[in-house]
Each structure stands twice: as structure tokens, then as C-alpha cells.
């Protein structure tokens, strides 16, 4: 067993790849990627210290015999990995990881969240549409960053209200529940927004939490999308209005929005009605498309 095991509990589009790469620049810290990524995703789970997670394998054995095994392949003593909320929940065998992590109080927990879940949703949709989930290793160097995002990634699109609500609900529930279930552990919370505003300071704080001395980092601008939501989201006023006076309101900028469009639908009933209406519009469009096809 290495001396300091940790886990980064996070969600997609929270900057977790940049975060783990920054962490791993430390001479004694190794932060692996999505070690428990379910089989059948875009990429298989990464190779870790001589082991790899495959369908049906015992996650607890992989954790202890490979991920946290000493000596670490890079000779580091503080080792962790990224775990998304939905990982290791597909069947009873893979799920063993969660109660094990909850019982292991010696494992330090680093939560990585994005404060603004609407930004996170837009980032996910752009990545899904363009197939571009991050910048290539060498992109953005000396060329100002935004050139890295493809035109498909920057293309304007309309947000589906029901889908967006479902996404933001899901992440905030996971965020709340995981903080409760790991309340007995040593934990640190990192926000995407702070990480990108002051990476060196945030990383030094995390290094201290992990019991490591500070380390000077090489920083790159990794931001993919730079299109403001008002230009990049076709129905921004409608979306902002939909969430007005809800507890997601602070994710939106209401300055100068058309009052009529952004009037706000605050009651649960009105919100449900909006969702149904948007589904109906989509259904009509699908029918029309099917008819013309």
C-alpha cells in the first residue's frame, strides 16, 4: 500500500482531466484517470500500475492490488484516481467499490465540482455534438486557446429544457449525497471556477491537504468553448426565464433580457408545463421530419 491514497470524486465537464494532470506534475503525486470507467464507453478504462478494470472484475481487489499498490509504477507515494458519480453502479459486483470506499477512512477525498451547472451542461452538450471532449495535448500553445475548439464545438444550438433540468438536478443531488455519505472522511472541495481562476493556489491547497509540499506547475490554457451563452444558445432567454426564481437562478445572467421571454415560470406546475410544451414542440418537429423523410 502506498502511503497516501486518495480519490477525486467528480462529474464530467468539471475540468477533471486538467486537474489530474496538474496534480500529477507533483514529484510525489500520481492522479490516474477514470480507472473504473464502465466497459463499452468511448475508451476502455486506463491501464493502472499493471492492472486494468474490465467487466466483472472485483473493483476492490483492483483498487488495493493495482491502483494503491506499492511500489507505484512512477515511484510516487501519494496516489489517487478520478471516480465519477455514476461509475461502478452498473451491477452488484462493480458496486462493491462504493461501500468499500465509504468504510476506508484512510482514503482522502477530493471533491471536484463545477459551481455553475448550466455551464457544465452546455459544455457537455457541445462535447456530445462535436465529439471533442478536450484540447489535444499540444493545442492552444502560443495560439491563444480558442483555436483549439472546432467549428462544430462552437456552433449555436437550442437547449432542451427537460434535459437540462434533469442534468442539473442529477449533478446537484449527487453532489449533496456524496458529501453526506463521505462526511466521516478527510475531505477537500475544489471548484472548477476557482481551479481555472487561480490554478497554482488551488493546487497548492490540495497538495497541502494530501500532506505534500507545494510544487511549481507548468500551466496551459485548456478552455475549449469561449462563445458566450447569449450567442451560443439560441433559446437563452427562454432557458433563463424557465429557471428564474428557482434555486438554479444564479447560474444565469438576467441583465437586459427581454422581460416577456424571461418572465419566469417559478411554480412546479408551470415548470412541468414548460417541459411538456418543449417536448411537444420536439415531437412535432420529429413527426414533420419523419413525414418529409
Amino acid at each position: 500500500m502506498i502511503e497516501t491514497p486518495f480519490v477525486i470524486l467528480c462529474h464530467g465537464r468539471s475540468g477533471s482531466t486538467s486537474f489530474r494532470q496538474l496534480l500529477s506534475q507533483h514529484p510525489n503525486v500520481q492522479a490516474y484517470g477514470e480507472v473504473f470507467r464502465p466497459a463499452g464507453r468511448r475508451q476502455p478504462a486506463p491501464q493502472v500500475n499493471g492492472g486494468r478494470y474490465v467487466r466483472g472484475c472485483d473493483p476492490v481487489a483492483l483498487l488495493n492490488d493495482a491502483v494503491y499498490a506499492a511500489p507505484n509504477e512512477f515511484g510516487k507515494g501519494c496516489v489517487g484516481f478520478k471516480l465519477f458519480f455514476h461509475h461502478a453502479r452498473g451491477d452488484d459486483v462493480s458496486y462493491r467499490l462504493w461501500p468499500h470506499l465509504q468504510a476506508r477512512r484512510d482514503i482522502k477525498i477530493v471533491f471536484l465540482f463545477r459551481r455553475n451547472l448550466f455551464d457544465s451542461y452546455v459544455s457537455l452538450k457541445r462535447a456530445d455534438r462535436s465529439g471533442q471532449f478536450g484540447l489535444a495535448e499540444n493545442a492552444g500553445e502560443g495560439e491563444g486557446g480558442s483555436e483549439g475548439a472546432t467549428a462544430a464545438h462552437r456552433a449555436a444550438f437550442a437547449v432542451d429544457l427537460a434535459d437540462c433540468l434533469h442534468y442539473m438536478n442529477g449533478i446537484s443531488v449527487a453532489k449533496a449525497r456524496l458529501q453526506e455519505t463521505f462526511a466521516g472522511h478527510e475531505t477537500a472541495v475544489v471548484y472548477h471556477e476557482d481551479l481555472f481562476a487561480a490554478p497554482q493556489a488551488e493546487l497548492d491547497r490540495v497538495f497541502a491537504f494530501l500532506g505534500q509540499p507545494p510544487a511549481a506547475l507548468k500551466l496551459k490554457d485548456r478552455k475549449l468553448n469561449r462563445v458566450p451563452h447569449r450567442e451560443g444558445i439560441r433559446n437563452y432567454a427562454e432557458v433563463a426565464g424557465f429557471f428564474k426564481r428557482s434555486y438554479f437562478a444564479e447560474f444565469f445572467d438576467y441583465d437586459g433580457l427581454d422581460d416577456k421571454e424571461a418572465a419566469g415560470r417559478s411554480s412546479a406546475f408551470a415548470r412541468r408545463l414548460s417541459v411538456l410544451r418543449s417536448r411537444l414542440v420536439r415531437l412535432k418537429a420529429d413527426l414533420k421530419e419523419a413525414g418529409s423523410g
Binding site: F85, R89, G90, D91, D92, Y95, W98, N169, G170, S172, V173, A174, K175, A176, R177, L178, Q179, E180, T181, R245, S246, Y247, G264, S266, S267, A268
Partner: protein
């Protein structure tokens, strides 16, 4: 004697009525009920009475708070004054809603969060109350049969309820993180009422007193007897973020059923 203003933030079926009654046993503390409850139109109940007045939706909520609810000393001569506010109160129109940003801006108001850790228990409690019309033991001293009747759980409704409350807790704590806050769990409050109330009194700057505690628990039917589709409910929440709301014994029974 302090001149303190506070708010109890949370949701229904979390023991908030018992909690406000316990707080109000203190000679200088008055914890009002759901002062800003209500729906527009004539159908809904108005806000709880304060000084003989009741808030109606659409009225200036900030003015009502300052001039009526927080007026000190109050009708009972107390000057440490608070009220219950549920997360869904005052969100229907911009005038009523003004209270939320106002409260977030007023850092001198102390915030007591009252949450129920086990949201499945909370859901069952709400369903039983809605079915029986019995929301507490205040008027009649016994639990009615209607309240204890076994019933079937609608899985989607239950999931929706638990998801909403889990995130309400997180969001409210984020909104009020710059305030002086105290979080009390329903479970801890009922397990050790004297200790939790002493913590609450000290938080409000008052000398703790010994409170008179009555057993107010309504439903005592174990879920496995009181919910007709309980096995299905347990199965559907396995491996989710809500699994820990279920008793280890019920999870073991589910494992046994799955392997047979």
C-alpha cells in the same frame, strides 16, 4: 436577553413544528411557524398568524418581515425572534420572491437548517400525512388508523421527492454559507433533544434551558409492514445515491431475494 433575528430553513416532515415549539419554550425566544406559507387565490391557507396578522401572497414580503414578524419586543415580550421558511415558499411571483435575496443579503440574520437525514422516512411521513390528513399529534393525541394503513409507493414520485430535497439541502447551504449557520438533523434532534436544544439556544445567544419533551412520533409501523411494495422499492434504490436510507436488514433481505 438578546435582540436576535433568525430563520429556520428546511422542508416539511422534518420535525419543524416540534422544533419551533421546543425553541419557543425559552422565555426570550419566539419561533413562529410558516409565516410565508400560502398560495395565491382563495384555495390556500394563509401564512401563520403573527400579532394577529397573516401574510398573503403577493404582498411585500420584506416589509412584512421587518414590520410584523421581526418587530421586537413581540406580542409575547420576546426579542429573539425567528420563523420557519420552507424552500418552496415565496417563489411564485417577483414581489413575494424578494424575501429570498433579501435574506441572503442580511448576514446578521442567523440561520438554522433543519433537515431530515433519511429522506425515504421523510417521504413515507409525507405520504401518510397526505393520505390521513393527520400532520401531527397536536389536536388529537393518537395516531389515526388512516395514518397507519399500508400503502403502495409510486417509485417515480418517491425518487423525485428525495432528489428535490437532497439538492435543496445543498443549495440552501450554499446560498447561506456566509451567514452564521447551525445545521440540525431531525434524527439527532429526536435522539438527544436536550443536547441539541442546548446547542440551538447557545447558537442564538441565549442561556440553555431544560425543555419539556413530549413524544410526538406519529407513525410507528416499520416500512416492511407498512409499504405494500417495499421489496420492489428497496430493489429499485439499490446501488443508487439513496441506498443508505434503507435498513441493513432490509438490504440483506433484498440480497437474499436476488440470489434465490
Amino acid at each position: 436577553m438578546t435582540d436576535t433575528r433568525f430563520v429556520i430553513l428546511g422542508y416539511g416532515r422534518s420535525g419543524s413544528t416540534a422544533f419551533r415549539n421546543l425553541l419557543s419554550q425559552h422565555e426570550n425566544i419566539q419561533a413562529y411557524g410558516e409565516v410565508f406559507r400560502g398560495r395565491r387565490g382563495s384555495g390556500g391557507q394563509g401564512g401563520a398568524l403573527v400579532n394577529g396578522q397573516s401574510y398573503k401572497l403577493g404582498e411585500d414580503s420584506v416589509a412584512y418581515l421587518e414590520n410584523t414578524v421581526f418587530a421586537a419586543p413581540n406580542e409575547f415580550g420576546k426579542s429573539c425572534i425567528g420563523f420557519k421558511l420552507f424552500f418552496y415558499h415565496l417563489r411564485a411571483d417577483p414581489v413575494s420572491y424578494a424575501l429570498w435575496p433579501y435574506l441572503i443579503g442580511r448576514k446578521d440574520i442567523k440561520v438554522i437548517f433543519l433537515f431530515r437525514r433519511n429522506l425515504f422516512d421523510c417521504y413515507v411521513s409525507q405520504q401518510r400525512a397526505q393520505r390521513s390528513g393527520q400532520f401531527g399529534l397536536h389536536k388529537i393525541r393518537t395516531t389515526t388508523d388512516a395514518h397507519q394503513t399500508p400503502f403502495e409507493i409510486d417509485l417515480a414520485d418517491c425518487r423525485d421527492f428525495m432528489r428535490t430535497r437532497a439538492q435543496v439541502k445543498a443549495r440552501l447551504q450554499e446560498f447561506f454559507e456566509a451567514h452564521d449557520c447551525l445545521t440540525i438533523d431531525y434524527e439527532a434532534l429526536f435522539a438527544a433533544p436536550q443536547e441539541m436544544m442546548a446547542t440551538a439556544f447557545r447558537f442564538l445567544g441565549e442561556e440553555p434551558i431544560e425543555v419539556g419533551v413530549k413524544d410526538r412520533k406519529l407513525n410507528r409501523v416499520p416500512h416492511r409492514e407498512g409499504i405494500t411494495n417495499f421489496a420492489q422499492v428497496v430493489r429499485s434504490f439499490r446501488r443508487t445515491l439513496f441506498e443508505d436510507y434503507f435498513d441493513p436488514e432490509d438490504l440483506a433481505a433484498d440480497d437474499a431475494r436476488a440470489s434465490s
